[in-house]
C-alpha cells in the first residue's frame, strides 16, 4: 500500500516533467517514432529476406540432362550413383515426354519462371534428373560429380544467381543494421538530454528535496518514469505502423513480391512479434537514456 502510494507520486511527478518540457519530450518521442519505424521496416525486411533465401535454396536444384539415346540401364546406373551421394537432398527423374508435358503446363499456367527456363533449353528435349543438394553451397561439388558420370550430357547450375541474391540481401541487411544502431544511439542521447534539461530546470527543487532528506532514489525515480512515459508514447506509432502497415502491404501485393517466386511472410504472427519487439526496444532505449542522465546527476558532487 505504501509503495503503491509512493509509485503514484513518482508517476505524477514523471508525468508533470513530460508536460513541463513538452517540446523536448516531443523531440525525443519523434526520434523514437522515426527510429522504431525504421527498425520495424528493417525487421520485416530481414524476416522476408530470410524467407526468400529459404525459398530460393529450396527451389535451387541442378537440372541434369542425359545424352540423347542413352539406355535405360545406363540411366538406372546413374540414378543409383546419384541417390547414394551424401550431398544429394532429393532427386526426381523425368523422361523427355514428362519434361515436355511439364513445360506445356508451365506455359499454360503463365508461370513467371518459364522465360528463364526456355532460354536455357535445347531441342530435342533430353531425359532429365532434378537434383536438390543438401544446401546451396554444395551445388558446385555435386554438379562436378554428376557431370563426370558417363551418360550425362550437361548440368545446369543456378547457384551463382542465388548466391548473388543471398549476398545482396546480406549486404543490405548489414547496412540497415548499422543505420538502425546509429539511430538508436541518437535516440538514447536525445532522451538523456531531455531528462538532463528537466533535472537542470528543477535543480532548486531537487536541492531542497535533498536537504529535507529525500534519498537519491526517491529524487531520481520520477525522471526514470519520465523516460518510460516518453518510451511508451514513442512506441505507440511504430507498433500501429507495424500492425496496420504490413497487413496493408501484404494485402495490396497479394502476398508476393516482384514475381511469384518471392512469397511474403504471413502477417499473422510477424506483426505481433515485430510490434512486441518495438515496444521492448522503445522502453529499453528510453530507460537507458533516463538512467544515464539520472546516474550523471546522482554521481555529481
Amino acid at each position: 500500500m505504501k509503495s503503491k502510494g509512493r509509485f503514484l507520486i513518482y508517476a505524477r511527478d514523471g508525468f508533470k516533467n513530460v508536460c513541463n518540457h513538452i517540446f523536448m519530450s516531443f523531440s525525443s518521442v519523434l526520434t523514437l517514432i522515426i527510429t522504431l519505424s525504421l527498425c520495424a521496416v528493417f525487421l520485416m525486411f530481414v524476416s522476408n529476406t530470410n524467407q526468400f533465401t529459404r525459398d530460393i535454396e529450396s527451389q535451387v536444384a541442378l537440372r541434369v540432362e542425359f545424352h540423347i539415346g542413352v539406355s535405360d540401364a545406363e540411366i538406372e546406373a546413374a540414378l543409383a550413383e546419384v541417390s547414394v551421394h551424401p550431398l544429394v537432398g532429393e532427386y526426381e527423374f523425368r523422361n523427355r515426354y514428362e519434361e515436355h508435358a511439364r513445360i506445356a503446363e508451365m506455359i499454360a499456367d503463365g508461370d513467371d519462371r518459364i522465360e528463364v527456363f526456355l532460354a536455357d533449353i535445347e531441342a530435342p528435349l533430353h531425359d532429365v534428373i532434378r537434383v536438390e543438394a543438401i544446401d546451396i553451397y554444395s551445388l558446385d561439388e555435386l554438379s562436378e560429380f554428376i557431370l563426370n558420370l558417363e551418360p550425362i550430357y550437361r548440368v545446369s547450375d543456378p547457384s551463382e544467381a542465388s548466391e548473388a541474391i543471398s549476398a545482396t540481401t546480406t549486404a543490405i541487411r548489414n547496412v540497415m543494421m548499422v543505420f538502425i544502431v546509429v539511430l538508436l544511439v541518437l535516440a538514447v542521447f536525445l532522451i538523456q538530454n531531455t531528462i538532463r534539461v528537466t533535472i537542470y530546470s528543477r535543480q532548486e527543487e531537487l536541492s531542497i528535496m535533498r536537504l529535507v532528506g529525500g534519498s537519491i532514489g526517491h529524487i531520481t525515480f520520477p525522471f526514470v518514469i519520465e523516460g518510460l512515459i516518453i518510451g511508451v508514447i514513442g512506441a505507440i506509432v511504430p507498433i500501429a505502423f507495424t500492425l496496420v502497415g504490413y497487413r496493408i502491404m501484404f494485402n495490396t501485393t497479394g502476398g508476393t513480391f516482384a514475381i511469384n517466386l518471392f512469397q511474403l511472410v504471413e502477417p499473422a504472427r510477424l506483426v505481433y512479434q515485430v510490434g512486441f519487439l518495438m515496444g521492448i526496444i522503445s522502453i529499453s532505449v528510453s530507460l537507458v537514456g533516463s538512467l544515464v542522465a539520472v546516474a550523471k546527476y546522482a554521481l555529481k558532487d
Binding site: 532548486e204 529535507v212 532528506g213 529525500g214 537519491i216 526517491h218 558532487d301
Partner: protein, 226 residues
C-alpha cells in the same frame, strides 16, 4: 550532539572557509553564530547540514561520523536536521500546504501521514488560515514561517537557520525568533547564523563568533559585543 575535531573546509578555487575548527555543540543548546560576511558562517552551517563536505578533520553528528559520508546515505542524516534559509527557498508554484507536504513526501511517508503532519506544523507556526495560499501571496515573515514549518515537518532533532531574519523587518524577525525559541524549549537544538545582533538575547544563549574561518569568541553566557 555535534563535534568538530580539527575540521577544515577548503573550496576547489583555493578559498578556505573554515580552518582547523575544534568545537562541540550539545543537545538542546540554542547557539547563535555571528561574524562578518565571508567569515565562514555558511561553510560552518553547510558542513553540519551535509551540503558541503569536510576537507580535513572529523565531524560527528549525534555520535555518527559524517566526515566522508556517502552521497547515497547522507539523506538518512539529513532527515534529523531541519534547515531554514534567509531566502526561504519555497517553491513558488506550490501552496503553503504543498511546500510542507513536499518535504514529507520526499522522505517517503504515506499520504495520510503527510496530510496529518503537514497540517500540524502549519498550525504550529500560525499559518492555519493560509494553507492554500501561494508564496507570492504571503508576507516575508509568513514565508519564513512556512520555511520553518517545512524544516520541522520531519521532527528533526537539530534545526539550522542561516540568517533566517536577514530579509525580515524587526517585528517579523522577533516572531521567527520566538518560534525557534519555542522549538528549543521543546528540546530541539538550534544553530542560527545572524547579522541581526538585536535578536541575540541575554538569557544564557551561546554565541559563537567566527572570523576568517576560525572561532574567535565562544561565550555560553549570552554576552556579545555589538
Amino acid at each position: 550532539m555535534i563535534e568538530f575535531t580539527n575540521v577544515s573546509k577548503r573550496y576547489p578555487n583555493g578559498v578556505t572557509g573554515i580552518h582547523n575548527l575544534n568545537l562541540n555543540i550539545n543537545k538542546g543548546e540554542f547557539v547563535f553564530v555571528i561574524g562578518p560576511s565571508g567569515a565562514g558562517k555558511s561553510s560552518f552551517l553547510k558542513m553540519i547540514s551535509l551540503q558541503e563536505k569536510v576537507s580535513a578533520g572529523e565531524l560527528k553528528i549525534a555520535n555518527n561520523d559524517v566526515t566522508s559520508i556517502s552521497k547515497f546515505k547522507s539523506h538518512l542524516h539529513r532527515r534529523k536536521i531541519g534547515v531554514v534559509f534567509q531566502d526561504f527557498k519555497l517553491l513558488p508554484k506550490l501552496t503553503v500546504y504543498q511546500n510542507v507536504a513536499f518535504a514529507l513526501e520526499a522522505v517517503g511517508l504515506p499520504a495520510k501521514e503527510v496530510r496529518k503532519k503537514a497540517m500540524k506544523v502549519i498550525y504550529l507556526v500560525g499559518l492555519g488560515n493560509k494553507v492554500l495560499s501561494y508564496p507570492n501571496q504571503l508576507s516575508g515573515g509568513e514565508q519564513q514561517r512556512v520555511s520553518i514549518a517545512r524544516a520541522i515537518a520531519n521532527n528533526p532533532d537539530l534545526i539550522i537557520a542561516d540568517e533566517p531574519t536577514g530579509n525580515l523587518d524587526p517585528e517579523n524577525s522577533f516572531q521567527i525568533l520566538s518560534i525557534l525559541k519555542k522549538l528549543n524549549e521543546e528540546g530541539k537544538t538550534i544553530i542560527m547564523a545572524t547579522h541581526n545582533y538585536d535578536l541575540i538575547f541575554d538569557n544564557g544563549c551561546r554565541v559563537i563568533r567566527i572570523d576568517k574561518g576560525a572561532v574567535v569568541q565562544d561565550e555560553v553566557m549570552g554576552y556579545h559585543e555589538v
